[in-house]
């Protein structure tokens, strides 16, 4: 930044403008309908096509830092699965911190939708070594997870009926803020032909477009916008839909700041010349 611009608009002023825009955005009315794009529909349509009673695997690979962006996505997908009477199996490959977070979200969502642990969903513990764990699950589920998070044997859990290995799942969705999504594509899809979808932070979404273009994943839920679209598709507006107006206002604010910055830059340049 030139010295003149720094004096004219110090950094704290930019922060202040953003803060004001943020507060104002909380006061404006909420919109709840966000048309689903084809990339988000790629996940939605796949889950929607599954017959009742089918198992769906969700790898919840995010930590508290990215919870704000990823939680709405997970809740929307859970709502969709339970409405379709699908069995949900939730696991994590990210870190030991991820499963307590996932469990809290899943149990809260289950209470809302009347889902019962053991019958409608099952929770698995954290496993280290993402690719290795996925490869091992492709051979035998019980070898990697002999028991669930509560210590119950896999064979005694109704939600795990008929699941002996990874490919017994007709669909797997990786909701990740870390790069375990790559492991699901490379180990799950490429090795075992598993149908995989990805949910990720907005900044990582562009990383996975090559997989989308080469049809290695069926769809992509990118960031809060993707989560809001999914909520609209399942007709259950949640946190993502509530936060989208804020995101709109902040984006417009940043664009206006960029325009103002460029105007000031050219004015300063003109004055100098």
């Amino acid at each position: 930044m030139s010295v003149e611009l720094k004096k004219l608009i110090p950094r704290w002023a930019v922060f202040f403008v953003v803060a004001v825009a943020l507060v104002w955005s909380l006061l404006i009315p909420r919109k709840s309908d966000f048309p689903g794009t084809s990339v988000v529909k790629g996940v939605y349509d796949r889950i929607d096509a599954l017959p009742a009673g089918s198992p769906v695997l969700i790898s919840s690979d995010f930590d508290p830092g990215s919870e704000a962006e990823m939680e709405p996505m997970l809740r929307a997908v859970l709502a969709h699965c339970w409405r379709k009477k699908l069995r949900v199996v939730v696991m994590t490959l990210c870190s030991p911190n991820s499963m307590p977070l996932a469990r809290r979200i899943v149990t809260e969502a289950a209470a809302t939708h009347g889902a019962v642990e053991g019958t409608d969903y099952a929770l698995m513990n954290f496993k280290a070594g993402a690719s290795a764990a996925i490869l091992a699950l492709g051979q035998s589920w019980a070898q990697v997870y002999p028991v669930d998070l509560n210590g119950t044997k896999i064979s005694e859990i109704p939600a795990m009926k008929g699941i002996t290995k990874l490919t017994d799942f007709p669909y797997a969705l990786c909701i990740a803020s870390v790069n375990t999504a790559d492991s699901w594509v490379l180990a799950g899809n490429a090795r075992y032909g598993l149908n995989v979808g990805i949910g990720c932070t907005a900044v990582s979404a562009t990383d996975y477009y090559p997989y989308l273009n080469s049809k290695q994943i069926t769809g992509l839920i990118g960031g809060l916008a993707g989560a809001a679209q999914y909520e609209s598709l399942v007709k259950e507006p949640g946190d993502a839909s509530a936060k989208m107006p804020t995101q709109s206002v902040i984006h417009v604010t940043i664009v206006l700041l960029i325009v103002i910055g460029n105007i000031l830059h050219f004015v300063a340049k003109w004055r100098k010349s």
């Binding site: 950094r11 930590d63 830092g65 990215s66 911190n97 051979q139 035998s140 589920w141 019980a142 002996t164 290995k165 803020s177 870390v178 490429a190 090795r191 932070t201 900044v203 990582s204 562009t206 990383d207």
Partner: protein, 394 residues
């Protein structure tokens, strides 16, 4: 109308009397020994009214259990190129993969699997004689051979160029401004009497970018030792911390300044992402480093680090192969090494002919990739699928 019906009945009756030719059961190629594959040639004039039923048993005489049932319009070998590749005859042969073991049974050893094929039409059914196969684990996954060949070719090119670099050490490497600026940054820190902050990223030692970062740290530590500047290396991973301590110790010793080395220069902070960035930001605000180096793999914290470093007035040089974080570093740092420039940094700074030779090999590899892209595009336009099949990965 009656004649048509009669012809149809005759045809289906003729079809039902046939069993497919070439019925065979064999171990599934390129797998861990968990299944067998039954294959057979398609019947002449088969259509959706014909159903194939594959049954399995542990003995020749049964009892038979149905393993698969599908119409004759599907289940072709061409649908499974990872087993059968892309031969044109695959479009005329059906196959079924039959898992051989119940869960946990595989440990008992290989078991002979008997397979029988039935052809079911609306009017009649015909069955083949049962055949058997024993699933065995294979030692090579042939569909992946193209990847192996590429790695071998690239490795041969690398070693050839390293040998050439030993004979002719004057290899041209283009300027990388970010690496040239490191010398200036270290000098600036020495003049100002302020420390240098060096970060290795948030991946462990198994990450290539972290290995590259520790190699660069060795070069930086050598210069820091000779200028007697302070350096601070907060680490996210304890293993990386140990490696950094060792790298820095050797750098200081080889520069003839063993007394200047302080083991606490490289220290563990935390392996929580935002806890780490909060700690490093605090270090920046308190110690006001003159230069900040960010080399390695970063996640969402990249902008938090770079912006905070920017407020302290430090010169900032970043290098990462994390494609999503590159824009943030480019926007906030003075110099940014993009992608493979990070891997080239160690060779660039040391100027060792052996390492420079591998850089040239990388460039050869990129030229080869460009050539393959061009040839592949032309081949696809000319509908020559052989080229695409040669490069398919499974």
């Amino acid at each position: 109308m009656i004649r048509c019906l009669a012809a149809l009945l005759l045809a289906s009756g003729t079809l039902a009397a046939q069993v497919p030719e070439g019925f065979d059961v064999a171990d599934t190629p390129g797998d861990a020994g968990g299944s067998v594959v039954a294959s057979w040639k398609q019947l002449p004039n088969e259509d959706a009214s014909v159903t194939y039923v594959v049954s399995v048993s542990r003995s020749k005489d049964g009892p038979w259990e149905e393993a698969s049932r599908f119409p004759a319009t599907g289940g072709f070998k061409s649908d499974a190129p990872k087993y059968f590749w892309f031969w044109s005859s695959n479009r005329e042969e059906h196959f079924v993969e039959i898992p051989a073991f119940e869960p946990g049974e595989g440990e008992k050893g290989p078991i002979e699997i008997w397979v029988r094929l039935e052809v079911v039409t609306p009017s009649a059914t015909a069955a083949t004689a049962p055949l058997s196969a024993t699933p065995r684990p294979n030692w090579w996954n042939w569909p992946k051979t193209n990847v192996f060949v590429f790695i071998c070719l690239f490795g041969v090119a690398t070693f050839y160029l390293i040998r050439r670099a030993r004979r002719d050490p004057n290899l041209f490497i283009r300027r990388i401004p970010g690496l040239d600026a490191m010398e200036e940054a270290i000098g600036r820190a020495t003049e100002m009497g302020k420390p240098i902050l060096y970060l290795n990223g948030l991946d462990g030692m198994s990450s290539i970018s972290t290995i590259a970062s520790t190699c660069i740290l060795g070069q930086v530590a050598r210069r820091v030792a000779s200028y007697d500047t302070q350096i601070s290396v907060p680490c996210y991973d304890p293993v990386v911390m140990s490696v950094c301590q060792e790298v820095m110790r050797e750098a200081f010793y080889s520069s003839g300044r063993p007394d200047s080395y302080r083991p606490e220069s490289a220290f563990f902070v935390t392996n929580d992402q935002f806890g780490y960035v909060a700690a490093v930001d605090g270090i920046m605000m308190r110690e006001k480093p003159a230069a900040c180096f960010y080399f390695g793999f970063y996640y969402a914290e990249s902008l938090l680090l770079a912006e905070t470093g920017g407020t302290t007035g430090a010169i900032q040089i970043a290098g990462t192969d994390s494609v999503t974080q590159l824009p943030f570093f480019i926007a906030s740092c003075d110099y940014t090494l993009i992608g493979e420039e990070l891997y080239a940094a160690s060779a660039y700074l040391s100027r060792e002919p052996i390492q420079l030779g591998s850089l040239v090999a990388q460039d050869w590899g990129k030229i080869a990739v460009l050539g393959v892209l061009l040839l592949g595009t032309l081949a696809s336009l000319a509908r020559l699928d052989f080229f695409k099949h040669l490069l398919a990965t499974f």
